[in-house]
């Protein structure tokens, strides 16, 4: 009996903790609706979800890296470089063959492979090279963006019109009223949740983040799992990028700026501790949506000086975090 009570109390506590971001999101939505009735429209909801998709997908991958006790600062640059390289590849291939659909398909596959390869490189530098993840990815943050700037001469790399026409439906079409990026986001999130909670890999990721030494003694192949988390994140960046390219059909040195901060923020706002060990994909998804909703609401209203938009975002983030604070 006592046990039952305890369990209920504990699960209520963790429930409250878990729903912190959800409560924050709900409050925000109420506020949004009050401020502008169009906020609650389906169109707006889809807009917000679609634009959340990029950061959201990356955040799902980031969630694994953070739970395992790592960090990746390079995701924004990586996305921009992948976008640039993919566009260059597709433009080149379009010159050889005249099946634009095939070209686009190859480009999309290349995007994911490239992302995974970059992630792999991070993972190897971190595990075999024994360098702090912060340093490795701070370094590649600069390297990726520099190479993009180099390839684009500082300007934009733009997708050929013919390809653009074939590719843009990937971003702009809806299935059953829901835009494709949202579907992809949903799939990635579900896959992420399943991998984290229902596979040995996911369990190992948590074990490593919780105590690396113990995981090592428990026969977990720590290095391999770590490399895989970075590769997984890289693949997520690749997926986000293949959705991003058809949106504007270009990549420039401003592409993906500060995405790393947004993705990490989504994970942390979603209730995962920066130290690692435990976290949730659902929380991360809610965190990502929450962050876009804030700026959406700010765009839909003019009650606050434009200068202070960033301040409102800051206050909201801190408040949400306060709602779901530890213990």
């Amino acid at each position: 009996m006592v046990e039952g009570r305890l369990e209920r109390a504990r699960s209520f506590g963790s429930w409250l903790h878990g729903v912190g971001p959800v409560v924050g999101l709900a409050l925000l939505c109420v506020a949004g609706t009050l401020l502008n009735s169009d906020f609650a429209s389906l169109d707006n909801a889809m807009n917000v979800l679609t634009r959340t998709a990029f950061i959201g997908i990356i955040a799902v991958g980031m969630c694994f890296v953070i739970i395992s006790g790592g960090i990746d600062l390079s995701v924004g640059s990586m996305a921009a470089l992948i976008a640039g390289l993919v566009i260059l590849l597709m433009n080149t291939m379009a010159g050889w063959m005249d099946q634009p659909i095939l070209v686009v398909a190859i480009g999309m596959a290349f995007s994911v492979v490239l992302g995974a390869a970059f992630g792999l490189a991070h993972g190897l530098l971190i595990t075999r090279g024994r360098i702090e993840p912060f340093i490795v990815t701070l370094g590649t943050l600069g390297i990726f963006r520099a190479y993009l700037t180099y390839f684009s001469n500082g300007g934009a790399i733009t997708l050929d019109d013919s390809l653009s026409d074939v590719y843009s439906p990937v971003y702009y079409t809806s299935l059953a009223g829901v835009p494709i990026p949202v579907w992809v986001f949903l799939l990635v999130a579900i896959a992420g949740g399943v991998i984290l909670n229902r596979t040995a890999f996911g369990r190992y990721v948590q074990a490593i983040g919780s105590n690396e030494q113990v995981a090592r003694y428990a026969a977990v192949d720590v290095d391999k799992i770590k490399v895989l988390t970075y590769a997984l994140l890289g693949a997520c960046v690749g997926i986000a990028t293949l959705l991003y390219v058809p949106r504007l059909g270009s990549s420039s040195p401003t592409t993906g700026l500060l995405w790393e901060l947004e993705a990490i923020a989504a994970v942390i706002v979603g209730g995962t501790a920066l130290k690692g060990g435990a976290g949730s994909i659902a929380g991360t998804v809610v965190g990502a949506i929450l962050l876009s909703v804030i700026s959406n609401i700010l765009n839909l209203t003019s009650i606050i000086s434009v200068y202070l938009n960033a301040a409102v975002q800051g206050f909201v983030i801190i408040t949400v975090a306060f709602l779901q604070r530890r213990k």
């Binding site: 634009r51 700037t149 684009s152 270009s250 420039s252 040195p253 765009n299 839909l300 200068y307």
Partner: protein, 296 residues
């Protein structure tokens, strides 16, 4: 007898198409002028922020031993002191585009016309809408120069009471941010007649957002600075919403380097102020502003 000229060029890093254009034009000037003049050496430095640019000025003087400087200041106020220091060391200083707060810190000033940058589109839009309609605007990154443009735009619009500026939000001279801001404008405002995107990069995002929403109330999207993509669209008449642009070409860095180098080689000075006017670009004169090789 020609003077030996060691010319330093300090410009912002290529973090945006426009600054990429600056970098490209500066390199073009270096290549061309160094070939032409044996006694000329040009050193180009790009900076990602005001502090770094100030550091580069020091390094140019201390280590590269320049005797002339062309600078596109990252921030007017912040670089006034560092530039004054350079000038005090006897270096000839040409300032481009963003004027220093203390003009005595420069020998010559070649400026873009930020007032016209805001005024020209305002006048064009006002006329095209016959003095009546709803418009939205985008702003760049909070800087003095962005303020100048916005103020110029507003001061024109004061004369058209029937034109309503619905909102002007920051989109950071960035395509993605412009896309998002425009999406939300479209959600929020059911009738928009014209958009002042204030930058051709932002205009790209704006157009995509309009396309996606399938809205046909917007008659004009006015960018700015005349990027090659937008000028091409204008020449080809591909998009009815792109009717005009305002020139603000990164090419002025090329002019500035060339003028300074040539004057200094002869030991001459430049006029204290040269203004490169920002003018209206329409289909008729667009060809003159089309540089397909430049990244901008």
């Amino acid at each position: 007898a020609q003077n030996k000229v060691n010319l330093g060029v300090a410009i912002p890093a290529a973090t945006h198409s426009f600054t990429a254009g600056i970098v490209w034009w500066a390199n073009a000037a270096k290549a061309e002028l160094e070939k032409e003049h044996k006694d000329l050496k040009v050193t180009i430095k790009t900076a990602a922020n005001a502090g770094e640019q100030a550091n580069q000025l020091q390094d140019l003087v201390t280590a590269n031993k320049i005797n002339s400087l062309v600078i596109f200041p990252f921030e007017s106020a912040a670089l006034t002191k560092p530039v004054a220091q350079v000038k005090n060391k006897g270096v000839y200083v040409t300032v481009v585009d963003r004027g220093l707060t203390d003009p005595s810190a420069q020998d010559a000033y070649i400026s873009g016309d930020n007032t016209a940058f805001g005024k020209v589109p305002a006048e064009y839009i006002a006329k095209a809408l016959n003095g009546k309609g709803n418009i939205v605007a985008m702003r760049g990154i909070a800087t003095t120069l962005d303020n100048e443009r916005m103020d110029a735009f507003n001061s024109v619009m004061k004369d058209y009471p029937d034109i309503k500026l619905l909102d002007a939000k920051y989109a950071n001279w960035n395509r993605d941010d412009a896309f998002k801001v425009m999406q939300d404008y479209l959600t929020r405002f059911k009738q928009i007649d014209a958009v002042w995107a204030a930058d051709d990069d932002m205009a790209v995002g704006v157009l995509k957002a309009i396309e996606q929403a399938k809205r046909d109330d917007i008659k004009i999207v006015f960018g700015g600075a005349g990027s090659k993509g937008m000028i091409k669209t204008l020449i080809d008449g591909k998009d009815s919403r792109i009717q005009a642009n305002v020139s603000y070409s990164p090419k002025f860095i090329y002019e500035a380097i060339k003028l300074t180098a040539e004057a200094r080689l002869k030991g001459e000075a430049l006029p204290a102020t040269t203004i490169v006017p920002s003018v209206l670009i329409t289909k008729d004169n667009a060809k003159d502003f089309y540089f397909p090789d430049s990244p901008f």
